[in-house]
C-alpha cells in the first residue's frame, strides 16, 4: 500500500483539491482572507515591529544621539511584510504543513474578488501581476515627471536637493523592481504553462507567494519617502548607504523582499519549463518566448540571492553594528559595489531578454514568415545569460579597481554583444523581404528594435574604458540604459499586452487608441531621451538638481517631451478601461492568425488550460509553408510514443537516474 500524499489525481489541478462530492463552506467575501485583511495585519505588524524595535534598541546611545532607530524601522518593515502575507492567507498552508496537513480546498471561482486573494491559479496570478506592474510603472512614471519638472530650470527650484535625490532614488528603485518582473510576472506566469502545453505551474503556491511578496515590496519601498528617502540612487552605494537616515532601511528591506519574490518566480518558471512540457514539446519546439523566460528565470534564481545577501549585510551594518561596508572598521564599501553589480548586471539581461522573447513571438505572426534561425535565437539567449555573470566589473571602471583588470572586463562586456547581436539578427532576418502587417503590437515590436539598436550600440561604446571614464555618471549613461530598458523592454511589454490581451481577457483593445498610444510613446520617448546623450556629452551629471545655464534649452526640450511621454501612458489607461470595461469588443478566437499553442485553446482559457494534454507536433513558426503539419494534436487518443520527448517522460526520474 502507499502513503503517498500527492495522489496523481491531483497532479492536474491547480494544487488545491475539493473533497470528492463534498461541500465547501464558503464565507462571504468580506470575511475571508484578502488584500484588506493583508493591509490590516500589515499595518498591525508594522506597529508591533516598531514597538519591539524601540523596546530593544531605544536605550542604545547612538539611537539617542541620532534620534533614529534603524532596528525599529527594520523590524517594523519585516513584521509588516509578515503581517501582509498572513493577512492574505499566504502563510496558511506553510504553517498547516508543519502538522502534516494537506492543502485546504480552494473553491474554483471566476468571481472578480479572486484577484484580491491568495489564488494559486496561474492565470489569476498573471493578471494580479499585470495590474501590480502597471501600478509600479505609473508610480515610477509620476516620480520621473517630478524629476523632469525640477530640471525645467537650472537655478529656480521647486524641490530641495535632498528631496530631489530621494525622488531620483525612489524612481530608479521602483522602476528597477518593476522592470525585473514586468514580463516574467504577468506574461510569464499567465502564458508559459499554456505555451508549453501544460495544465499547471510546477509549484502554484510558490508562484502566488512570489506575487504577494512583490506587492509587499511596493509598500515597503514607498515607505522610504515619508521616512526621509535615501541619498544613494537605486544602486545604494556605500558609504552613503551606511550614513543615510532610516529611509535607507526601506530600500534595503524592500529590495530584499522583492528579491526573494524574484527568486521564487524564476525558480517556479524554470522548473515548470523544464518539467511540464507537453508530449512532443522538445527543446527545439518550445516557443522563443519560453526560451527567453527560461534564460531570465535562471538569472533570477541564481543572481538575485547575491542581492539579497548584500542587502542583508547592509541591514546588519545599520542595525547590529557590523562593518561590512565601513572601511574604518575593517570593511569595504567596494564589497557592496561588487556584490550589487554581480546581481545588477545579470539584472540588465533579466530586463532585456523577455522583451526579445515577446517580439520573437510577434514577428513571424505579422510577417507571415517562419522565425529566422530559431536555434540561433535560443542559443543567443542562453549565451547572454551565461556571459552576463562575467561583466559586472565594468561598473567599477571608475571606482579605482586594479587597472590591469579593466581590459578583461571590457572584453567580456564587448563579447556579450555577440549573442545579443545574434538575437537582433534573428529579428532582422525575419523582417527581410516580409510583407509586414502594421498592427499595433507589430508597431511596438519594430520600435523595440529601433530603440534597442541605439541603446545597444551606445552600450558597446560605453563598455570601452576610455569612453566609460569620460561619460561615467553623466546623462549619456542615463540615456543609454533608458534606451535599452524602456526603449527595449517597456515597448516590447506594451506590444505583448496588445498582442495577448484578446487571449487574456477575451476583448480586443481599441486599434485607433492603440496607434495613438504607440506614436505618442515612440515619438516622445525618443524626443525625451535622445537629447540626453547630448546633455551627457556636454557634461551634465546625473542625480544633480542644478546644471549649467547653457544646457537649459536641451533640458526643457527633454522635460516637455517627457510630459507628453507621460500623457501617452494615459492614452493606454483610457484604451484599457474603454476596451475592457466600457465598450468591450469580443475578440475573435485567434485575431492575429497565430500558430502559437496558446491561441489554439478556447477563450476564456479553461481552468486546466486544455481539455486533453496536447501532443505537440512541430514548432509554432511554420507560417506560409504549404503542407506544414498542425502545431499540436489537441485531442490525442494516446501520446505514449511522444511521452519520451516531453517533460513528464523525459526527465531524470523517468530515466531512472536517482
Amino acid at each position: 500500500m502507499t502513503l503517498d500524499v500527492a495522489p496523481p489525481s491531483q497532479m492536474g489541478s491547480t494544487g488545491d483539491t475539493l473533497p470528492p462530492g463534498g461541500v465547501v463552506h464558503r464565507r462571504p467575501w468580506w470575511m475571508g482572507q484578502h488584500m484588506g485583511t493583508g493591509l490590516l495585519l500589515g499595518i498591525g505588524g508594522y506597529a508591533l515591529g516598531h514597538y519591539l524595535g524601540n523596546t530593544i534598541a531605544g536605550g542604545y546611545t547612538h539611537v539617542g544621539t541620532a534620534g533614529e532607530n534603524d532596528v525599529a524601522i527594520v523590524l517594523a518593515l519585516l513584521l509588516g511584510v509578515v503581517g501582509w502575507l498572513a493577512g492574505v492567507g499566504a502563510l496558511n498552508y506553510p504553517l498547516a504543513k508543519l502538522a502534516g496537513r494537506e492543502p485546504v480546498a480552494q473553491p474554483d471561482t471566476q468571481h472578480w474578488t479572486r484577484f484580491f486573494r491568495f489564488s494559486v491559479e496561474h492565470k489569476t496570478v498573471g493578471m494580479q501581476y499585470l495590474i501590480a506592474v502597471l501600478v509600479f510603472l505609473f508610480t515610477g512614471g509620476l516620480l520621473a515627471m517630478s524629476i523632469r519638472t525640477e530640471l525645467l530650470s537650472p537655478t529656480s527650484h521647486i524641490i530641495g536637493p535632498g528631496t530631489y535625490i530621494s525622488i531620483v532614488g525612489e524612481h530608479g528603485t521602483v522602476m528597477m523592481m518593476m522592470a525585473s518582473s514586468l514580463v516574467v510576472g504577468p506574461l510569464g506566469n499567465w502564458l508559459i504553462p499554456i505555451m508549453i502545453g501544460s495544465r499547471r505551474m510546477a509549484f502554484p503556491r510558490v508562484e502566488a507567494f512570489s506575487f504577494w511578496l512583490f506587492s509587499a515590496g511596493y509598500f515597503v519601498i514607498l515607505t522610504a519617502l515619508p521616512l526621509g528617502g535615501f541619498p544613494t540612487g537605486w544602486t545604494g552605494y556605500a558609504p552613503l548607504q551606511t550614513q543615510a537616515t532610516v529611509g535607507m532601511d526601506s530600500y534595503l528591506v524592500g529590495f530584499s523582499v522583492i528579491g526573494l519574490g524574484m527568486i521564487l518566480a524564476g525558480f517556479n518558471l524554470l522548473v515548470t519549463i523544464i518539467n511540464y512540457r507537453a508530449p512532443g514539446m522538445t527543446w527545439s519546439r518550445i516557443p522563443v518566448f519560453a526560451w527567453s523566460i527560461l534564460a531570465t528565470s535562471a538569472l533570477l534564481a541564481l543572481a538575485t540571492p547575491t542581492l539579497a545577501v548584500a542587502c542583508m549585510f547592509g541591514i546588519l551594518d545599520r542595525t547590529v553594528g557590523t562593518a561590512f561596508y565601513v572601511n574604518a572598521h575593517g570593511g569595504s564599501s567596494y564589497l557592496w559595489e561588487n556584490l550589487f553589480w554581480f546581481f545588477g548586471h545579470p539584472e540588465v539581461y533579466i530586463m532585456a531578454l523577455p522583451g526579445f522573447g515577446i517580439v520573437g513571438e510577434m514577428l513571424p505572426v505579422f510577417t507571415r514568415k517562419p522565425l529566422f534561425a530559431y536555434r540561433v535565437a535560443a542559443a543567443g539567449m542562453i549565451g547572454v545569460a551565461l556571459l552576463s555573470f562575467f561583466v559586472w566589473q565594468h561598473h567599477l571602471f571608475q571606482s579605482g579597481i586594479n587597472p590591469d583588470m579593466r581590459p578583461l572586463f571590457m572584453l567580456t562586456t564587448e563579447l556579450i554583444s555577440i549573442p545579443t547581436g545574434f538575437i537582433f539578427l534573428v529579428g532582422l532576418g525575419t523582417l527581410y523581404k516580409a510583407k509586414i502587417r502594421f498592427e499595433v503590437p507589430m508597431l511596438f515590436a519594430l520600435a523595440m528594435y529601433f530603440n534597442f539598436l541605439i541603446g545597444g550600440v551606445t552600450g558597446v561604446f560605453v563598455s570601452d574604458v576610455p569612453v566609460d571614464v569620460t561619460v561615467h555618471g553623466s546623462f549619456f549613461v542615463l540615456a543609454h540604459f533608458h534606451y535599452t530598458i524602456m526603449g527595449g523592454l517597456v515597448f516590447a511589454f506594451f506590444g505583448g499586452v496588445y498582442y495577448w490581451m484578446p487571449k487574456l481577457t477575451g476583448k480586443m483593445m481599441n486599434k485607433t487608441l492603440g496607434k495613438v498610444h504607440f506614436w505618442m510613446m515612440f515619438v516622445f520617448f525618443n524626443l525625451t531621451f535622445f537629447p540626453m546623450f547630448l546633455i551627457g556629452l556636454l557634461g551634465q551629471p546625473r542625480r544633480v538638481f542644478e546644471y549649467a545655464q547653457g544646457l537649459q534649452t536641451l533640458n526643457d526640450f527633454s522635460s516637455v517631451s517627457a510630459f507628453c511621454l507621460g500623457a501617452s501612458f494615459l492614452v493606454f489607461v483610457v484604451n484599457f478601461v474603454w476596451s475592457i470595461f466600457i465598450a468591450p469588443q469580443e475578440a475573435p478566437l485567434n485575431p492575429w492568425g497565430s500558430l502559437g499553442l496558446e491561441w489554439q485553446t478556447a477563450t476564456p482559457v479553461p481552468q486546466h488550460n486544455f481539455e486533453r494534454i496536447p501532443v505537440v507536433l512541430t514548432d509554432p513558426y511554420h507560417y506560409s509553408e504549404p503542407g506544414a503539419s498542425p502545431v499540436a494534436d489537441l485531442a490525442p487518443t494516446s501520446f505514449a510514443e511522444f511521452a519520451a520527448v516531453g517533460a513528464g517522460g523525459g526527465g531524470p526520474i523517468a530515466r531512472g537516474e536517482p
Binding site: 500500500m1 502507499t2 502513503l3 503517498d4 500524499v5 500527492a6 496523481p8 489525481s9 491531483q10 497532479m11 492536474g12 489541478s13 475539493l18 462530492g21 463534498g22 504543513k97 508543519l98 502538522a99 501544460s198 509549484f203 525558480f267 522548473v271 515548470t272 523544464i274 518539467n275 511540464y276 534564481a301 541564481l302 540571492p305 545577501v309 542583508m312 549585510f313 546588519l316 551594518d317 553594528g321 557590523t322 562593518a323 561590512f324 574604518a328 572598521h329 575593517g330 570593511g331 569595504s332 567596494y334 564589497l335 556584490l339 481552468q607 486546466h608 481539455e611 486533453r612 494534454i613 487518443t637 494516446s638 511521452a643 517533460a647 513528464g648 517522460g649 526527465g651 531524470p652 526520474i653
Partner: protein, 219 residues
Amino acid sequence: MSQVRVPADSGYVATPEELAYEARAAENALFTASRLMIGCFAFAFAALAFAYFYLRSANSYDLWRPHSVTAPVGTGTAVMAFTAAATVLLLFGLRQLRRKDVLAFDVAGWVAVLSGLLALGLQCWELTDLPFAPATGGYTSVFIGWAVMNIIMLVSGIYWAETLLARRARLRKAITEEGGAVRGVPSGIFRLNVDSCVYFWGFIAFVAVFFWIFFYIAG
C-alpha cells in the same frame, strides 16, 4: 480511452495516461527544484565567501581580525557537528526507507530534526555570547553574517524534514483509523521528496564544514 473524473466535483477529467504523465512530471519537478534550490543557496553562500576573502585580502586599516579574535570554537564545532549528524541520520533514514524499514526511517528522521534544532539553538545562542563587538573588524562582521545565513539555511532544512515526517505521521494515523495497514510503505514521490531533502541537507553539511574551517580553524 477510459477516463476518470477527479476530483469529483471540479469538472476536471483526466485519462489514466495523463495522470501517469503528470505524476512523472511532478517527480521530475521535485528533482529539478531540489537541485535548483541548492543552486540558489550556493550563490548566496558564494556571496558570503566572497565577502570573507575580499575583506580578508583588503584588510582595511589592518582591521580584518584585530587581536586575532575568534568566535567560540566549542560552540561553533558543536553547531557543525550537530548539522553533520542530522545529515548522516537523514541519509541513514533514506537508506532504511529504500529497504522499506519505515520505522527506522521515522526514528532516524525525528532524531535528525532534533539534531538540527540543537544546531539551530546553539547557533542562535552563540550570537548572544560573542567575545567581540560586531564592528571590531572584517572577520567579526562576516562571522555575524554567516551566523544569520546559517540560521536561515538550518530553518529551511529543518522545516523540510519536519513537514515530511509530520505528513507521514498524519497519514499513518489516518490509514490506521480507517482500518488499513498500520505501517505502510511510502510511494515513489514521497521517497523522492525524502531523497531531495537529504540532498539538500548534504549541501547544508558541506557549507557548515567549509565555513567552520575558515571561521574557527584557518581564520
